[in-house]
Structure formats: C-alpha cells, structure tokens
Amino acid sequence: MTTKRRYSLMGATLGGFLAMLAPLPGYAAINVQCPGDTNGSATWDAGEVQPPNTKCMHLGAGDGFITMADGATQYIFGFSDLTGLVTKPVPPDTGDDVMMEGMLGASFPAPPIMLDEGDEFYLTLTNVGMMMRPDLFDPHSVHYHGFPEAAPIFDGVPDASISINMGSSLTYYYKINDPGTYMYHCHVEATEHMQMGMLGNLYVRPVQDGTTYTYGGRDYTKFAYNDGDGSTGYDKDYPIQIGSMDSAFHNASLTVQPLPFALMEDDYPMLNGRGYPDTVNPAALPPPAGNVNGGKASQKESSLIEAAPGERVLLRISNLNVTRFYTLATLGVDMTVVGMNAKLLRGPDGKDLYYKTNSVTLGGGESVDAIIEIPVDAAAGTKYFLYTTNLNYLSNNTEPFGGMMTEIRVN
C-alpha cells in the first residue's frame, strides 16, 4: 500500500488531479496484489520468488467488439487479460499503460482461468471503464460461479458485498480445494453485463493429476476429478462454453437506447464466443473490422476438438447464456457424463452415477464433464459433431446452418 502508484483514467489530463489526492488511501488506484510479485505484473519476473502453490492473474473489465460468424461486428462488455503488464514501477514511471491496454480490450469469452487443486489464487480485477459508453459509471466484479463454501466478499455479487469502480482494482482470493468445471462472470447488473458478454471458462484440475492410473487398458495421468480409479482419465480436455447474444440488445447498448430486458431473445448462438464455422478455426479470430477496438484480437478461444483414435477427450461444458436452455448433442460418438456442477458424479458412499448419453441439456449456470472416447478404428480425417439440437439455433442470426456447433476431428 505504501508504494502504491496512481494512474489517471484517460491519460495525463487527470494525472495532476489524482496526485493531489495521493494522501488519501486507495483512491482510483490500479493495485495488483500478488505475493512475491513486486512490480504489480501478477507474474514472477527475474528476482521475484513465486510462493508455493500461488497463482495470480490480472483481469481488466470494460468493453470492446467482436465479430460474429456472419461478419457482423458486435459491441460487448467483457474481460481482458492484463497479466504481465507492469503496474508498480519505481520512479520514474516506466510501467505499462494498463488502462490503454484494457480499454476496448474486452474478449469473448473472457480469458480462460485454469487452476490446480491446492492453489492459492489471487485474481486482481481492474475496472478500465467502458470507452463507448462514457455515460456509464458501472462497477464490475468477478463471480467465481460454483465456488464451494464461498464468502460474500469474494463472491462478486454487488448486492451482497462490494464491486470495483472505474480506475481501481480489487483483488479476489480463492483457496482452491475442489476440482471441477466452473465458470466465471461479472455479477454487476447481471442480466445486462452477462448478456453483454462478461463470461468465461474456469476449471480446476485435481491433485490426482500426475499419478498414473490404468483404466480400460490405457494409462492416464490427467483426470477430471480425484476418482481413485482412473475412470475420469483423459488425454485431451476442451472447455466448451455455451453462450448466445441478442444483437438488438447489444445495438441498443452501443447506441445508448433503453435496453430490452423483457424482449430479450438471442439470435447469435455460440460456443466459446463464436458461431460455426468460426468455432473450428484453431487460431484467434482477426481483430474486428474497421479498427473499432484498436486492432485487438478479441475472440481467442477455438472450439475445434482434435484427438487421435482411442483417445479420451474431456469436454468441460458450461452454459452462461442468460435467456434459455440449450441441448448439446454429439453425432457419431457417445458422451459419458462423469461430473456435474463441478462434482464427480458419484453418490455419497461412492456409487458411480456416470451415464452414457448423446445429449446434455444445460441452463445458464450449469456445467457437466463429459468424456468422449474416439473409436480405435476411426480413420484419420473422420469428423464427429457437437451441436445444439435446438435446431433453430444452428444459425448466425439470419444466416442458416451455423451457430452453436463445432467439430471433433480425428487426427
């Protein structure tokens, strides 16, 4: 706290004003808290010591743009990954310009958060403000959805605790005790901020990882849960987040019009922030056209699933859309559901409740862990599909046969 430096919101204009307020504790300050990290980068650079089992991340919360699969550009609220940016320089000021990086830097889905059981996770959220909506003074938060035994102070529900104002940072702390597939999102004015895109993947790997279990004649060292028998072992895992957006709502937000809550109806169904065929593009999508967000790539998460014959693929499926239920189905291969809502699917005395299925139905805020086994005799180049059987949502707005679908490719 004593060496905290303060940054202006939009550059030098406010700098002098803020300097006058320097004696006040914590006013409009970017403040990344990360044990062992001295320059506020949320990473451990040369000379800095990472304490055991400690992870840090620095997220920005603001706005930005994405490109829909039909080519349309859409305005979003979202999170950006500011990890690695130096926020606590020694004088003279040599720090990175966090605000400039964060502003219009929102990505969809939000930067993925991957943790390991036993971690102590320090997550700093900096509210960089919404560039396209200077009329808004919205705070933001992170809700680690499904975190067991949560305390309100780090739960991100603004009604129940605190949320962070523009130009400032709040560091959340989580002791990671429970593996599984979670998700995270902003909980401030949740219907609006979530429809606008402040949603992301979050999952926790179990301590059983690294131990070898033989299951079904194959050795595994990676598992969905601490199953004790290797039955959740996998070769590859893919987070798949169901989402959908209402373009009318986003356009109303961008043009500062009344927001249609009651009339909200999503017309862009997506997996990991893209509609088909963008879902199977393995790379980050190019920045939105027209330099609307300063040329920042905002859709980095592919949904292309690739595996070899005989491999087991763990799908970490979550749903964070805000308007309806979706069913995701596989075509060509079964799914075995081994986890649900970030818990191993077993009874209290250890009875297996796993089940095989070709479809899972999730509302917002639900997750399942489903394992796909690629047949050993599958030919290279074989394609299976993961797609919504709410068939009208296989679309990108008015463009047919896109939307909520991706491919499972045998390599």
């Binding site: 305390a151 129940a160 605790s161 104002n165 401030v188 004015e189 809502n341």
Partner: protein, 447 residues
C-alpha cells in the same frame, strides 16, 4: 466489538439452555402452510402486485373463505394421513361466457373422489362446476415435496394462478424430509418457481377467459414476470403475510446459521424450466418428485449428488440439502489478531471433527489472516446487504446511505434463476426470480 461480545455470550447461552429449543423445531424455521387432514379450498379471483407497480388478475386457491392466493395454500400433512380436500368453485369471469369448471390434480398421490361429492367428470380430474364442489381423497402414503394444480384447461388455469405446494412429513418427524437420518434438516424453505405472461391476465380480466384462444397468447407464450412463491423480487424478501400483498402471503427468505442443514424444496410451478442457482455452496439433491434417490428401500439417499444449480422442470419437485461453514476458505471468517485485538476468539474442537463444537467455525483456518487488502471506500460500490466487513457477524461503518439491509452482519448470497433474463420485473432489473440467503453468525436468533 460490541457485536462480538454479544456473540460469545450467546454461545454460552447455547450451552446452558437451547437444547430444549433444539428438541422442538423452531416454528420460524419451517415452511408456512395449512395443516390437518381435511381441507377446504376455494377457487376464486384476486389481484397480485409486482414490484414494477403491476397489478394482475389471478385465479387462486383460497383457504376456505379466505383470499385467493398465489400460489395456493401450502398443504402440510403427515405420512399416512387420510387426506380430504374439498374444492369449491367460486370463480367469476368477465365477458358473456360462464365461469369455467376447476379441479385439482395431486401428482404422486392416488386420488379418488368422495362418493358423496364426486363433482363432475373431467379429463385429468373430476371438476367443480361454477358454484359447485368436488371432494378429493387420498392417503398421504409417501413423504416428500409435491405440487398440486388445476387439471382443467391447465395451460390457462395454472397460468392464472391455480397452483400450490404440498408437503408430506415423514413418520420420522417434522424435521426430516424422508424416513432416513440423512434427510434430517434444521430449516426448510419453499421455492415454487413460476412465470407469467401479463397479456393473458389482461385479456381474462377485460374480456373473460373465452377471449384468450383468439389471441394465441397461450401458444405464443412470452413471460415477462418471474416469481418465487408467487412474489417477484424484492418482494420475495418481505415478511410472510405483509398487508400490502394480500394475495401473495408467502415470502422466500432462506436464513440459517453456519453448520445448519437447510432443506430446499424446489418446485417447477409454471411451464418453463429454470436453472435455480444458489450462491454459497453446493447442495445435495436427495429426492425428486417426492421420491428419495435411493438404490434400495431403506438405503437412504445413496444415489444423491451435489449441484450448484438445480435444473427445475415444470411440474417437478426437487429436495436438496444445503449447508455452509466456510470450510477451507484459507482465512478466518471471524478475523484474526493480525486484523486487530477485537478479533480474538476461540475455535474449540473437542470432538476432533475440525469444526468448533458450537459455532461450526472451521478450525484449521482459525486465525489465518485475511489474504488481501481491500480498496478504499471511494473505490468501491457497496451493496445494500454489505455489512461493511468481510467478517461474519460484524457490522462496520459504511459511507452514508450505504448498506443497511443486513443489521446482524450476516453473510448474504443471491439465490436466483440463472436464466438471468428472469431476474427482472418487465424491463426493470433487479427483480423477478431472485432472493437472498442470509447466513447469520452463530448465536444470532433467526425468526
């Protein structure tokens, strides 16, 4: 400081005298409803209020000559009771047509009609004609959570409000959900989830039910209001029976202390599915539709599993047990001496279960300091339920006008539909299918 002293004193009180209270379940911890074995329900009209200043005609079940209720009176009976429900049809409607017949179906029960009051035959159930009656009889054979609703023109009549909850308490006792020790609970809360398309109610009020068909609204259903126990947030958090909601007597205000077992009785009371998300912790789903999730009779809920979002389906019920202690947070929820001398407290674990024997504090985290520095108050936006402190049971100063809805410094959690669109009243956020759980500090009495 003052709060903490009181808390410790109350713990001593607990040692001395509260065992008597524990023997008899606190009435405030139980779901409100009508009890007995013989019930008189009346289908009649009323108006409900929504927090966006809406007022809508409903058809509701009333208790005897009382007011129409949305939802209807919660019928609470005991396992093995011979239950009789007499339904009187007092509906009146606008327009030229007659008032409709009404009825009740009781999913999960084997219902017969009274030979002396059989009503008139219907499709799903015998019906009461306008001004007439019908009497249903069944044995409450199996404990659990059930719903009851109109089996006559249900698409319209359930939308109009003819829906209620029924609880069958097991022979094991009122603080058990089923006849197994693993279903014991300390507190219970009803979550009857429903939605409403106001256009239908307006057409019925103005032109009568016969005019609905021509509008197509039942087929092109478009709800814009969402309810728990017949109230839209924030009314869900007002007291039971507040005078300004005469037709919506039931609140939904789950409250508990750390270590309590809270039974959630979740009912899909409308036509839509709802992902009901409860912040704070997982809950163990022990039963569906009044049937324990057990592999063999007597096994107990050995097929139960834990969820953080209950997928509530229309006409279905789910029983889940929720608990919270703050186990494993990695910091002391009552503060540590590192934060100041006023945070000195003990964690007494005589039975070696890792929890304080009275407060249920998780002792391995005892006195672990709060892990981060919180921003200054000018950097923060405060919620109405924020106590000013990250610690349980403490109320600390907040800027003028902030907080104030959490006088005991409890931990509060939003419990809501995660179809977040359903957390609005028409176009006004927040509202709808939402309430708050309050976990009060040990020793804080809950009413």
């Amino acid at each position: 400081m003052q709060t903490r002293v009181i808390r410790r004193a109350l713990q001593v009180t607990v040692l001395g005298g509260v065992f008597m209270v524990l023997l008899a379940v606190n009435a405030g911890a139980m779901i409100q409803g009508i009890t007995g074995t013989s019930f008189n329900l009346t289908a009649t009209t009323g108006h409900i209020s929504t927090p966006d200043s809406g007022s809508y005609l409903i058809w509701g079940y009333a208790n005897g000559a009382g007011l129409a209720q949305y939802p209807g009176p919660t019928i609470i009976v005991n396992e093995g009771d011979q239950v009789q429900v007499k339904l009187t049809n007092s509906l009146t409607v606008a327009g030229a047509g007659p008032a409709p017949n009404v009825s009740i179906v009781f999913p999960g029960q084997h219902v017969v009609v009274s030979p002396t009051d059989p009503g008139i035959p219907g499709i799903l159930a015998n019906e009461a004609a306008p001004g007439g009656t019908v009497t249903y009889q069944f044995t409450a054979a199996k404990p659990g959570t059930y719903t009851y609703y109109s089996g006559t023109d249900s698409a319209l009549q359930v939308e109009m409000g003819l829906i209620g909850a029924m609880i069958v308490r097991p022979a094991s006792g009122a603080n058990y959900a089923y006849n197994h020790p693993d279903t014991q609970f300390d507190r219970e809360t009803l979550f009857l989830l429903s939605e409403m398309d106001p256009r239908i109610h307006q057409v019925v009020e103005t032109f009568g039910p016969d005019a609905v068909a021509a509008t197509g609204y039942l087929a092109n259903y478009f709800p814009v209001l969402w309810f728990i126990n017949g109230r839209a947030a924030p009314d869900t958090m007002a007291d039971n029976g507040v005078p300004w909601l005469p037709n919506q007597p039931y609140n939904c205000m789950p409250m508990m202390n750390p270590g309590d077992r809270l039974l959630m009785r979740v009912i899909g009371g409308g036509r839509d599915m709802h992902p009901f998300h409860f912040h704070g912790n997982h809950a163990r789903v022990i039963a569906r539709d009044g049937r324990l999730l057990e592999s063999t009779p007597g096994a107990g809920p050995d097929l139960s599993h834990e969820l953080f979002t209950i997928q509530s389906q229309p006409g279905s019920t789910v029983d889940a047990i929720f608990g919270w202690t703050g186990q494993g947070l990695g910091w002391d929820i009552y503060g540590s001496p590192a934060e100041g001398p006023e945070y000195v407290h003990e964690c007494m674990d005589m039975d070696n279960d890792d929890f304080d024997d009275m407060t249920h504090e998780y002792c391995p985290d005892h006195y672990k300091p709060f892990p981060v520095t919180l921003p200054g108050s000018l950097e923060l936006t405060f919620g109405g339920f924020y106590s000013g402190s990250p610690f349980l049971g403490l109320v600390q100063s907040l800027p003028p006008g902030e907080g104030g809805m959490n006088p005991n410094g409890g931990y509060t959690y939003m419990w809501h539909s995660h179809t977040e669109k359903e957390m609005v009243n028409y176009d006004i956020f927040p509202g709808g299918m939402m309430t708050m759980l309050i976990i009060e500090a040990p020793g804080v009495m809950i009413h």
